[in-house]
Symmetry: D3
Subunit: 138 residues, 6 copies
Amino acid sequence: MYSVNVRDHFMIAHSFRGEAFGPAQRLHGATYVVDVEFRRAALDVDGMVVDIARATDVLRSVLGELNLRNLDDEPAFEGRNTTTEFMARVIFDRIASRSAAGELGPHAGGLASLRVCLHESHVAWAAYEGPMPALDPR
Amino acid sequence: MYSVNVRDHFMIAHSFRGEAFGPAQRLHGATYVVDVEFRRAALDVDGMVVDIARATDVLRSVLGELNLRNLDDEPAFEGRNTTTEFMARVIFDRIASRSAAGELGPHAGGLASLRVCLHESHVAWAAYEGPMPALDPR
Amino acid sequence: MYSVNVRDHFMIAHSFRGEAFGPAQRLHGATYVVDVEFRRAALDVDGMVVDIARATDVLRSVLGELNLRNLDDEPAFEGRNTTTEFMARVIFDRIASRSAAGELGPHAGGLASLRVCLHESHVAWAAYEGPMPALDPR
Amino acid sequence: MYSVNVRDHFMIAHSFRGEAFGPAQRLHGATYVVDVEFRRAALDVDGMVVDIARATDVLRSVLGELNLRNLDDEPAFEGRNTTTEFMARVIFDRIASRSAAGELGPHAGGLASLRVCLHESHVAWAAYEGPMPALDPR
Amino acid sequence: MYSVNVRDHFMIAHSFRGEAFGPAQRLHGATYVVDVEFRRAALDVDGMVVDIARATDVLRSVLGELNLRNLDDEPAFEGRNTTTEFMARVIFDRIASRSAAGELGPHAGGLASLRVCLHESHVAWAAYEGPMPALDPR
Amino acid sequence: MYSVNVRDHFMIAHSFRGEAFGPAQRLHGATYVVDVEFRRAALDVDGMVVDIARATDVLRSVLGELNLRNLDDEPAFEGRNTTTEFMARVIFDRIASRSAAGELGPHAGGLASLRVCLHESHVAWAAYEGPMPALDPR
């Protein structure tokens, strides 16, 4: 299995609901340094897992929808705790969706799976990984 | 699959037995920077993989049993080489045991597996991973 | 010149005022990984620059006053942009003040200077450094 | 599953063919920081995954065949794009081959799989992983 | 003294002349991860050392003149060994020149000094630092 | 001012004397990842601060005198606490001495100063820096 990883970051405010979160129930924030790992069984004709320039652009665009915002105000996350692991899944879904829509280019056809890891500090991170949905046949 | 990772460290003295270890048969020591990755298939109702505050406390407590000691003097490791990979397994077992005893809290019920990685320098590390034992029914 | 550095982190929400900040005028947040470097010309009788356990405790306590808060609501920062470089100075002043009050212990008497560095992402950080104020004679 | 990782690096020049590579079609170069992770189900009698000194030597030797060269001039890569993911596979094959030839020593008999990861910058890396070929019976 | 640092990277081919360079006399290459630290004695009215968005843009532009090239073919470096420390100075001079031309914006007027550090691997880096030339009065 | 840095590591056992050290009075150990930064005002004729291959060899040799040992048994440190900051000075002195003896080669003549930094964990390090003694005239 081959993989290629690209990294970028975003910075947000948010708060959590539930006693388990203790003082993190207050409005606070985080920098998330994001790694996205694309995996496939065989290289394409150019010798690539994915077009790294497109992958970088797609990641920047997905993070741009979240960056420099208060996640408590985002309708998409209403009623949810935007934990690091939850946000890893959000970014996974958005990248998978853009890949299915062709934004990663023709190289992305053979992608098998994706792993999205969000580093929230030098001592904590969270990730979500799963199989890549098939390219949208439309 | 979701995962959450917490990091801490401990510092020990030890020596190895066996020609394969060369000069590491002498009494020496190491700093181990420890990553513990908790994995589960779905988030709990709070949107968590594990209560990160409890996970951090459990890790600190487990490492506290080893920290600032000479492992050659620990009865638990008598007759064993306390290699980095061996110690990764020791810490895996101790965290799994505490999880089974309920120390990670009710959030830990759905944990699927655990990976413990010990960084011994900027150029070497070792890990042990395996399924999480079930919660102790007592 | 000798130096000793300890690291910890805090997570906050804030916003900036001024066109130069562009979209960072919106409420957002950051994780700051903080390095504090203590410097002195000669080691004390124990062979230390500073009691590292006390230094770690003082840093944790100073960051605890800021952690998991919205800096826009803190009276201490009213009318100021809490940029990374500004916060580096805030933390410098608070550690220097605690050192002057004796919280770093008798080892801290010979400290010459201090550098506080806040890492806001994998690609950006800011710092403030300056001489250490003398121990409070009271 | 246990694993042990060793790290080293090499520095090369190369160019790519194909429109997908854009300006990387020009002759340029890279530093690759290489992680090789050896995996096995159980520790050997010494408590090791692999003899780390031999693993380090084998990695240095494999990278020495590539280091400080222009990959465009290497007959082994003729007609291929030496992308980061392609080079991860090359190094995987060469280490697997040396292991099969006995260069990792008797400890290497139980190795299950191998992962080779090449970091090309602070924001991008690529890897290849797969099962370890059996020891050569000759 | 305050400082702000931004990071980016570039990838080049080159070779060295002189016996001291040994096998690095062959055509090879490097990834340079570049840190640029801007320093000033006091913050400006916005609470900034430098406009970090402009600093990031200027760094990207300066590295864009070097990225994905063979430095042996660059007339600017004819007859020179493009060592890491030499390239740190080149980038220092180019950023200082752009700052003097006003590209860092009005915030840059108070900059006292600059440090440019090029990381060539996980075990080696080189830097150049010096006072910032005055703003061009034209 | 130019600088070049090389990195290596060593692993030791030791213990401390004095109440200020708390549980670190017990025999324990550490991995020290060592950075040595060589500084000079101008590059030599080859465009170098120091011959990086020789610098790497000298560092490895100096660390080899300490590696895989119990520092409590070393006559050179009798009656001293081998704190991280103390060991930074020891390594500074040994590299300076070897430089004075010509081991860094003719390139080392212009070296102005040296900084030795020992990373003992992901959250703590210590350093010693000072001017480089003149080349031994013998």
